[in-house]
Amino acid sequence: MEFKGYRRGNGKVGTRNYTGIISTVVCANEVAERISSQVLGTVPFLHQQGCCQTPLDINRVTNVLIGLGRNPNLASVLLVSLGCESVELGAVVKGISQTGKRVETVTIQEVGGSAKAVAEGVPLAQEMARDASRLERTVCAAGDLVLGLKCGSSDTTSGLFSNPALGIASDLLVKAGGTSILGETTEFIGAEHLLAARGKDKTVGEGIIELVRRMEDRAKAVGCDMRGGQPTGGNIKGGLTTIEEKSLGAIAKSGHSPIEAVYDYGVTPEQKGLVIMDSPGREPEILTGLAAAGCNLISFATGRGAPQGFPFVPVIKITGNRVTWDKLRDHMDINVSSIMEGTETLPSAGKRIFQEMMEVASGKLTKAEICGYTKSMDIYVVGPVI
């Protein structure tokens, strides 16, 4: 099982080949966006964090920015800083540079405002995008894929068809020597005992239970029933009644592989196989966390039709709901409602998803990329804005 990807200097493989224009703080988003909009081959990463937060969160934002910059789908990186933010620009540069890729910076307060920062950044970005365009795809093993698992806008069909089918595809990738990352800790609540039992040892099992306790305590601290927030209004309309029910369907997307390790948000796994990463279920935060953890591909099962994509990691949409497939054809990549209709088996649908993953990894565009629905991004923080 092979695909064609971009082999980077540090051995990691990209499924896309962009120059990333990464804002280091919420206050630099405008400049990063303007630079990217003027240079073909670049993508912006914008977010709402990076200043006036607790040191715990500043440290997390710094590490996530490093992780994003290191993602092998980026050939090079231009960091856009305001100049007075809490995130330390030098640390981000250093962390990304270790991969061997080119990293440049533009600091708005130093160059004298946004117009000058754009004027300085555009030629740099042009040069980096031109260099990146010379790189060619080469044959890589399926084991070079780091898959992010996600489900969203779930309904009853998610737990019955699209998530189990994605689970089969994830198991196939794990068997082929690849990595698969399961997040969405909120959607372990009520199903965590099943995940913990799949932990490769006691420490992993306990780690899973602890992540869930932390997430549930955060939700409970607000003092209300979380229903309506999780499960969402849309989940409820789709027939899901409680978070326990949603979770039992959500974890099906991780298949049956053993769970090798548990990681904090945005941390790159050290081993192959299926691992867990702490994150909430909301799209901008988990897609960003998966990208920061090094995912070069994301597969996203949906019931009612979630359109979200990410700037530089392709997101494949899978639905098991025929109505969603018919209505949202420009957002859905794969239809597995055939399982419910009795015209396809679950294993066959899983194999079809795996084949699509290999094709998308080799350059086939996802629907989200084609329609430009690729701005679902933000960094998950745990403390208050202060």
């Binding site: 019955l160 229903r227 027939g239 409680t242």
Partner: protein, 98 residues
Amino acid sequence: MKIDAILIHDKDNVAVALRDIHKDEEIVIGKEDGCFRMEVSEAIPFGHKFAVRYLGKDETVIKYGEVIGRTTVAIPLGAHAHIHNIESLRGRGDLKDN
């Protein structure tokens, strides 16, 4: 046989409608080792659940063979089972003892 609803696990006390089901309709429910017929007592929208036996108040609701919540009122056989008669046991910041 074409099924109208599915009982995912033998232990489950709710089944899932695979199409919009009308009030008082007799339907075929598929399960692991075959299927059975029953009449629903209310309209059940596609993807929603209904009770496959009488459920008393405060009874545990089972789907996928696992606990998904607890009834807040009794749910008659064939009735729609959703947020109006089932509560979650998790993430309940509104309950002091939780």
